[in-house]
């Protein structure tokens, strides 16, 4: 009977393609929006993931995220270094600044000060320049997306910029994912950053820590908190703190959630209506099958087969379109680093299959209640 069910389904071309389109569109809408949401949220964690060497981030006790924190006095660095289990600890600065381009245009930028001697805090991959170039006077490196925004016509470095009224020399391009709050990131040595960014005497935003080999970073973080009174977060925990902070303090989850909900509603509406129409159009045939000797269980299997087929084909098409969208846009500055998480597509698959099966079961109720004798009337 599954074969007959599929022939019934695929033979009605208009409704068949309508159902496939409905599911594919719904999959695309849900998958694409969920992917954009997740990737945007991951950008909130980008400052943390960009520093792969550090296990622990130490900050002011009131800090909530990489961009919502208070600076620390410089002696906190020594206090952290004195905690048992700390392999090394380096200062890290994150501040805002204004840059004037050669055309006289002003841009807001993030200035990241990395350790003077080890350059810990500078992402590993450079698209232009070498790491030691950052030891030059007034040297800065710019993330690739920010570089393209400031210098859209060239990939060459060596330009001079005015950063907070001080000369800055561009010596490299850094391959790192854009951050949630700023499109342009300047990396420079910590001592340079202090000079670039005027402020109070306390300007060390974070202390980056490596736990000694064999020690649990979370345990070391707890030890730092106990001994210094500062807040210390294991790297992944702090990444989640950043994501959670953005999710709490913006309407992004609600906006994307609304669109995902619309995707579900569109899917349910199109599939539900079309499926109901399909069943209604075939009610006499289903009635005849029941009279001939197909049980309600058999009818249910037929409709489930049809549902699963629609869900599988529609989902395959929709997820291919989603992948195509992400692949096609991830090269651009706005979507740089965006990827299609497997978990999202698994989640969308579950959602789509449940949605289609439920609408199928809803649509088939009339057939299950149908008296076979109706076909004689």
């Amino acid at each position: 009977m599954p074969w007959i069910a599929l022939r019934m389904l695929t033979g009605d071309r208009v409704k068949y393609f309508g159902l496939i389109f409905g599911i594919a569109f719904s999959t695309l809408l849900i998958g694409q929006q969920a992917t954009l949401f997740v990737n945007l949220m991951l950008r909130a964690a980008s400052p943390v993931y960009a520093v792969s060497e550090a296990d622990i981030w130490v900050m002011d006790p009131k800090a909530q995220s990489a961009d919502a924190t208070l600076p620390l006095p410089s002696n906190d660095l020594a206090r952290v270094r004195g905690v048992s289990g700390v392999e090394w600890a380096v200062p890290h600065l994150r501040e805002g600044g204004s840059v004037r381009t050669s055309e006289g245009r002003l841009e807001r930028v993030s200035v990241v000060g990395v350790d003077d001697s080890t350059l810990i805090g500078l992402p590993r991959v450079l698209e232009a320049g070498v790491r030691r170039d950052l030891f030059r006077n007034d040297a800065i490196m710019i993330d690739t997306v920010g570089f393209d925004r400031l210098f859209p016509d060239t990939t060459a470095t060596g330009q001079e910029l005015e950063l907070n009224d001080r000369r800055a020399l561009v010596v490299g391009r850094v391959d790192t994912n854009p951050q949630f709050t700023s499109g342009v990131i300047f990396f420079t040595r910590y001592s340079n950053a202090l000079a670039f960014v005027p402020g109070t005497r306390n300007r060390m935003t974070f202390v980056l820590v490596k736990a000694q080999d064999g020690l649990d970073p979370r345990a070391v973080a707890r030890a730092i908190e106990r001994q210094t009174g500062l807040k210390a977060r294991e790297r992944r925990d702090f990444a989640w703190d950043n994501i959670s902070y953005i999710a709490r303090s913006t309407g992004i989850p609600f906006n994307f959630g609304t669109t995902v909900l619309l995707g579900i509603i569109v899917g349910v509406a199109i599939v539900g209506l079309t499926f109901s129409l399909f069943i209604r159009d075939n009610i006499k045939q289903f009635g005849a099958l029941k009279a001939i000797g197909v049980t309600n269980g058999g009818i249910l299997k037929m409709v489930l087969t049809q549902s699963l087929w629609i869900a599988a084909v529609g989902y395959a098409l929709g997820s291919a379109l989603t992948a195509l969208f992400i692949w096609g846009t991830s090269g651009g500055a706005q979507f740089k680093g965006f990827f299609l998480p497997g978990e999202i597509m698994v989640g969308v698959a579950v959602l789509v299959f449940v949605m289609v099966i439920l609408t199928g079961l809803f649509a088939v109720r009339g057939v299950l209640k149908l008296e076979p004798a109706e076909v004689f009337r």
Partner: protein, 258 residues
């Protein structure tokens, strides 16, 4: 044959053979609706129908013949009474057992054919076999063989919309016969056919569906085919009012709809 609990109507024959009839209905009552809207459609029908005979059920619209054939075919439960097909009391069968009994023992021919529009003629004919679990290729082959017998050998791969009304009816007959059921029930099988096609279909049905242990029961208004019947049962107002080899006198005035 007679209404139960009442003396036989004039001219109505009661089956007295000791051999088991193909169909035995006893005291069938059926009503629809409730309260003020309750309508009693069958008022205590009893009848025996033998195998090997083409039996017609005739009567005005609303006389109860479609309800009776539905009950005999096991697709509508009576309020009262018993139906025995070839010795099996079908309403004693539980749930799906009755469905399976129909699948094995009863062939259906519907007025509107109710063919699956996306299946070919041979595939349509094979539906009862596929539903019974036979492998598709074998079932379709057997469906095609029955169509060949019915003179549709050249049309086995055509879809219903590519066939004439008479050809579609023959596909429906093939579907009703492919699993060699013991009882074939037909609802107005010639209503949508012209006189010649209707007669050919009935001759075909008589030729291929009847046998020593097989019965055919037909609901019809079509007086053009009355002469082919072995037995005609007339119904009126939920009761049997005629039973004979010929139609009741007034039945000849009812023409099949074109």
């Amino acid at each position: 044959m007679s209404g139960a609990g009442t003396p036989p109507a004039p001219g109505i024959r009661r089956q007295t053979e000791t051999t088991q009839p193909a169909i035995r209905v006893e005291g069938i009552r059926k009503s629809f609706g409730s309260g003020d809207t309750r309508v009693e459609v069958l008022r205590g029908i009893s009848a025996d129908i033998d195998a090997g005979k083409l039996t017609y059920l005739v009567g005005e619209s609303g006389s109860g013949k479609t309800t009776l054939i539905s009950i005999i075919a096991g697709i509508l439960f009576p309020d009262e009474g018993r139906v025995s097909l070839f010795g099996t009391d079908i309403y004693d069968l539980a749930g799906n057992d009755l469905v399976r009994y129909r699948l094995k023992n009863i062939g259906f021919i519907f007025q509107q054919y109710n063919l699956l529009p996306t299946l070919t003629a041979a595939q349509n004919a094979a539906v009862p076999l596929i539903a019974a679990g036979m492998k598709r290729a074998e079932a379709v082959e057997r469906g095609a063989a029955v169509l060949e017998r019915l003179g549709l050998g050249q049309q086995v791969n055509r879809l219903p919309r590519q066939l004439s009304g008479g050809q579609q009816q023959r596909v429906a007959i093939a579907r009703a016969l492919v699993h060699e059921p013991r009882l074939v029930v037909c609802d107005e099988p010639t209503a949508a056919l012209d006189a010649a096609s209707g007669r050919r279909v009935m001759e075909l049905l008589k030729d291929v569906a009847l046998g020593a242990d097989r019965a055919v029961l037909i609901v019809t208004h079509d007086n053009r085919i009355f002469s082919l019947a072995d037995r005609i049962i007339g119904m009126e107002d939920g009761r049997i009012t005629h039973d004979g080899a010929t139609a009741p006198d007034d039945a000849h005035s009812h023409e099949a709809q074109p």
